[in-house]
Symmetry: C2
Subunit: 226 residues, 2 copies
Amino acid sequence: MRGDSASTISEARLSRPSAGRLSLYLRHLEALIGEGGAKVSSVQLGQALGVSDAQVRKDLATLGNLGHPGVGYRPQELIGAIRQALGLNREWSVALVGVGNLARALLRYRGFQQQGFRIVALFDADPAKVGQCIDGLEIHSPDQMSSVIARTGAELGLLAVPSETAQTVAEGLVAARIRGILNFAPAVLRLPESVKLVSVDLAAQLEQLAFLVQMVGNESRALNTR
Amino acid sequence: MRGDSASTISEARLSRPSAGRLSLYLRHLEALIGEGGAKVSSVQLGQALGVSDAQVRKDLATLGNLGHPGVGYRPQELIGAIRQALGLNREWSVALVGVGNLARALLRYRGFQQQGFRIVALFDADPAKVGQCIDGLEIHSPDQMSSVIARTGAELGLLAVPSETAQTVAEGLVAARIRGILNFAPAVLRLPESVKLVSVDLAAQLEQLAFLVQMVGNESRALNTR
DNA sequence: GGATGTGAACGACTTCACAGCG
DNA sequence: CGCTGTGAAGTCGTTCACATCC
């Protein structure tokens, strides 16, 4: 890197897959800290996470010059830098729509609050559920979305509703000025560019697994032809 | 492709991302069928799913010559071919380990049984849960894994246990001759090559979303410099 | 020596663009 | 015509290999 006369972070662009791996590094590093590991090398990290050492270096290099040649990386520093790069150096308030079993699982999921995500609002269209409380949070009607989200300051939304209503509910969240949606409904959502979307399609993942498993069978058959 | 003198299916290799999209096409096509759509074009499919038309054609071309130039594709045919390619033209028996909220959500999840996945066995290490029944399925102790999995013929495993025990439990599933694992624990699992693994890391997905949302802010700041 | 950072080579996936067919 | 199938070009991400620094 040439023009680093000043020590300002040059804010190199961070690619999507790289960002995904940073999450993994982060989790692993936080576990390491507990064991007081003072240094980590790209080889160690890579082996622990199933990633090539070159890949690790490339990923970490985007964070700035954190590596100490001949030594490795300092976990503490890395953690801070990764948090910053991923936007985890602050709290994120999250709204959860669709209070079914999945929602309950998400509510209790430790991984979220551990990284500063806080679920601050619940919504469900079922009148029987509206007004009830879970973990100290009242379930609101979707009508209230705009006001409740404004009041609680939620910026992210978890969408755990049936696929039929997913698009409509998502639009409600957009109208309520949510900035990003994590969608669990098996539906393809259409959102304005400015609202970010990540989808987790459980059925598709399981189908992917079936495909891979089935391929193994085909593989061995294919090998016979050699 | 050279030696296609015979009309035998040349079984073109199906790439991982392509297989992922096939799941989406399949779901959309099954919805279309209900509405009696007789023909679909790559453009229609693409727009519905947020994929380029060229991509759709490339993906579907791997299934054999199903397209009718000047006309489009017949949904029925496509569905059959996709099912076959993904290995969904049969039932898959599935074992579910770790009976918490997530497991309950997965058990009731329609998308699974709709594509022929049947959960046939439950396991949980908590003695208080062992012996209980959910949806007509008894919860077994992990000790019983080998025998129960052999008896029920489960080939796939859903792993919904805490990350600390994930590796151990996964090894148990491998020992019980499971062929693929869908892992929900936020841990990196080490499995033999022959056992396929797909991981769904909820925390990482949410972090990814935070990253994207945060990027939007940085983007607009970056645009100012222009 | 040991480990980082990084251009260059490589590979995988996507888009382009168009020939060919109904 | 309209729409598919597909080589060619392009883009993105990963791996290699090595100069560099402690």
